[in-house]
Subunit: 166 residues, 2 copies
């Protein structure tokens, strides 16, 4: 068996997040439809457009390393998104739905933040400057999305979740 | 069916992270045994001791809200830990093992960071000051652990992963 070095790990992890991003892209419209607050709906829609750009960047990174852009089942995102689905079912029509959806979206963001942070550092160690730059761009977008979600939570969603349904 | 407000969501999410922490506690000794670099091994052992304290804090929070400390299956941590197991199997004896383990541990940290961040904000909105303080303490520990892991990665592990096995 060939020795597995950072090249292999970089490629495997790239495939993991590529799978994850495409799963997220499919789930965002569902989350946007479920969201009650217009600002949360808008945040999910904005992130859907952003995710498309992030997938394109990943395809560029695959090209840089001369490998096929192919996903690899990511158990982590399956589990994280399953929890989001559970919230949508269990809290449908309830005041705390948006707070739960928002928390689920932040769990998704944090998974992306950790993966892109790792991949960016590995790209740098591997001397893949252009790849590191692309990964850094996405990392910044994900961190900003996470901050925006916190702002929305503090501004309205969490207080709204206290109220009994009208 | 009773209306579900932030109280319910807080309790459900507390149960989710309680389940997750106990799963993490079980997996940390395995990760410490698998790690090759002594500093990574030590970091996992330190976090194991910390996790015990974090579980106790969660039990205190359950007490504050007058509910039984009971976990609720957390699909997210199941998936995140499954990816760590996969790394241990696929990279055993290979130079990139530690870099992969470290990345898996950071994915765990980020899940905890997002959940404790959310729970702390909800505790504040619910007027549970003591609970918010306990959750904040754990949040700070998790963020510090994540930073420590990045330092270890930059200092040694990622460069080591470049080398073919001796």
């Amino acid at each position: 068996m060939a020795t597995k070095t950072l090249d292999n790990l970089f490629y495997d992890t790239l495939r993991d997040i590529y799978y994850a991003e495409r799963k997220i892209l499919k789930s965002l419209p569902k989350m946007a439809r479920a969201a009650q607050a217009p600002e949360l709906k808008a945040a999910f829609e904005k992130h859907e457009a952003q995710t498309e750009g992030q997938i394109e960047r990943l395809q560029q990174v695959f090209e840089i390393i001369g490998k096929a852009a192919r996903g690899k089942t990511c158990d982590a995102i399956e589990g994280i998104l399953a929890e989001g689905e559970e919230i949508m079912e269990e809290y449908e029509g309830n005041p705390a739905l948006d707070a739960g959806l928002l928390a689920a979206a932040q769990a998704v963001e944090h998974y992306e933040i950790t993966r892109y942070g790792t991949l960016k550092r590995w790209a740098t160690v591997l001397g893949l400057k252009d790849a590191a730059r692309l990964l850094e761009q996405t990392l910044e977008e994900e961190s900003q999305t996470d901050e925006d979600l916190t702002t929305i939570a503090d501004a309205a969603v969490n207080a709204e979740a206290l109220k009994p349904a009208a």
